[in-house]
């Protein structure tokens, strides 16, 4: 049973269609990335999954249960890391986690709270209020809050927005660790590098429609081109449809989909003795993302 199964989900705000028939699933122990520009509908989908919003139509099931019919069951399965840092001005870190735990029915949860405080390097800051924490600590507190009741499905709504690169890497390591422990994760982000490093599968959403979906690597392969930068000790004749750029005896050559480096070199009649240098440039998820959005704005792909 999939932790999250969304089928033909629609959400209208008056005459505005925020989500227009979206379908995707998050599989057990996978990280699924929902990628899209601002206003694409990512946060609306998260809000529907967490029961903050009601869908206009369609089906959203968490571990087989419809969110609109079994909200309390759903809420216990979910952990949500908000896009924005939450302040909770009156209380310190430990109290915030105790309250959060109590909301989920766990009044005596000291062991789990201490585990998370240690794990997220917050233990020595447990008596500080949120405003006394650094930006990184605040983010870690948001994650601790989401995990305090041991959820099975974690929703990360742009968890690293405005976070520096070192902290971002720490958070990525932690997310990978959670996945290893069997947690299923839905990540929304517009940091494409983050999605490429973390996600098993991605869906690219734009204007409330999923434009492309699949394994991260297959999406990259499908929407980007691999290139070979070849420096030789002699001149080479490269067919015009493969040659992207020539600079002296350095050639930037397109690797056609399905072609191996060996067969391409053989086709081009390049022998190993001729090669001074060879680099392969893989496509990036960011290129795939931009291609998908561009295709769509040009009339769909």
């Amino acid at each position: 049973m999939n932790p999250l199964q969304i089928e033909n989900l629609r959400k209208n705000y008056g005459s505005v269609d925020a989500v227009k028939g979206v379908s995707f699933e998050v599989r057990p122990a996978e990280i699924f990335g929902l990628l899209g520009p601002n206003g694409a509908g990512k946060t609306t989908i998260i809000s529907i999954v967490t029961t903050l919003e009601k869908p206009t139509s369609g089906s959203v099931k968490v571990f087989g249960q419809e969110v609109t019919l079994h909200p309390n069951f759903i809420k216990k399965q979910l952990g949500l890391v908000h896009q924005e840092v939450i302040n909770s001005g009156y209380f310190d870190v430990e109290e915030i986690l105790q309250f959060q735990s109590g909301y989920y029915g766990l009044r005596k949860n000291r062991e789990r709270i201490d585990f998370l405080l240690h794990k997220l390097n917050l233990y020595e800051h447990r008596h500080k209020k949120v405003k006394q924490l650094s930006g990184g600590m605040k983010r870690r507190l948001m994650i601790a809050k989401a995990l305090v009741h041991n959820p099975k499905l974690l929703l990360l709504d742009e968890p690293t927005a405005g976070v520096d690169i070192r902290l971002r890497e720490n958070l990525w390591d932690f997310v990978r660790e959670l996945k290893k422990e069997g947690m299923s994760i839905l990540l929304t982000t517009h940091y494409l590098e983050e999605a490429e490093m973390l996600c098993d599968r991605v869906g690219i959403i734009n204007h409330g429609v999923i434009e492309a979906m699949g394994d991260t690597q297959s999406i990259i392969r499908r929407f980007t081109q691999r290139e070979m930068i070849l420096t030789l000790n002699c001149d080479l004749g490269v067919p015009a449809d493969l040659l992207l750029e020539k600079n002296g005896r350095t050639y930037r050559i397109l690797i056609p989909p399905g072609k191996t480096i060996g067969t391409l070199l053989a086709d081009l009649k390049v022998e190993s003795a001729m090669i001074m240098d060879l680099q392969i440039k893989e496509g990036k998820l960011e290129e795939a993302f931009l291609r998908v959005l561009k295709n769509n704005s040009g009339g769909g792909q």
Partner: protein
Amino acid sequence: MISAGFVTLFEREIKRFMKVVVQTVVTPFVSSFLYLLVFGVTLGGEVEVHGGVPYLAFLIPGLMMMSLMNNAFQNSSSSIVSSKFSGDLEDIRVAPISNQQIVWAMSLGGVVRGALVAMITYGVGAVFYYFQQGHVLLIQHPLILLYFIVIGGLIFGMLGIGVAFWANSFDQLSAFSAFVLLPLTYLGGVFVSIQNLHPFWQWVSKLNPLLYLINGLRYGVLGVSDVDLLHSVVLSLAGFVVFYGISLWSLRKGSFQRW
């Protein structure tokens, strides 16, 4: 109904106001002290109350109810509004706590704060009364007092929930307090007996629902009231039902989103 989520939220409500005890308990104590000193002790001799009750004794339960209503209202409303401001109101929405549990936990938080401030007001008033009258101001009907403390706290805690969920700014909240709550309280028989008023104004005063709560609590403390106790009991129960409905409806329709 009494789930861990409910108990946690109730505990949070109490801890919240205890964190800002100067604002939530000490300030009302000081204002009650000043009201009692200025109106009760200094000017009290000049005012005649129907039925021969000393004015200070008449004033004490009025101020108790006024403190109770203000503090119960402020507890739930400022808890919600500050949570909207800091963003943690969505935590409650996302957690498996029902609307009924949220309403009860928050309004009972208001009852506790309101009762605390009301009893402090009684304590201060009783000291003044002892020095003025030479004997202790005994509570005549403790169960009736308890009933009006609980029902008054619940009604105003629930009103605070209703207003806070619809408020879009701190300004709107304080406008409600200043333009609706305060006039009704002041004109609800806290400071004067309506029996001292012209019959027309007596009739107008009887349209003010707060009059019945204030006089209900006054009956609990003194055994005298400007209105029939049964009217106070029935109207307060009806008010409770109405505001319970309003607060539940506000939770369903109002916004949990951050400002």
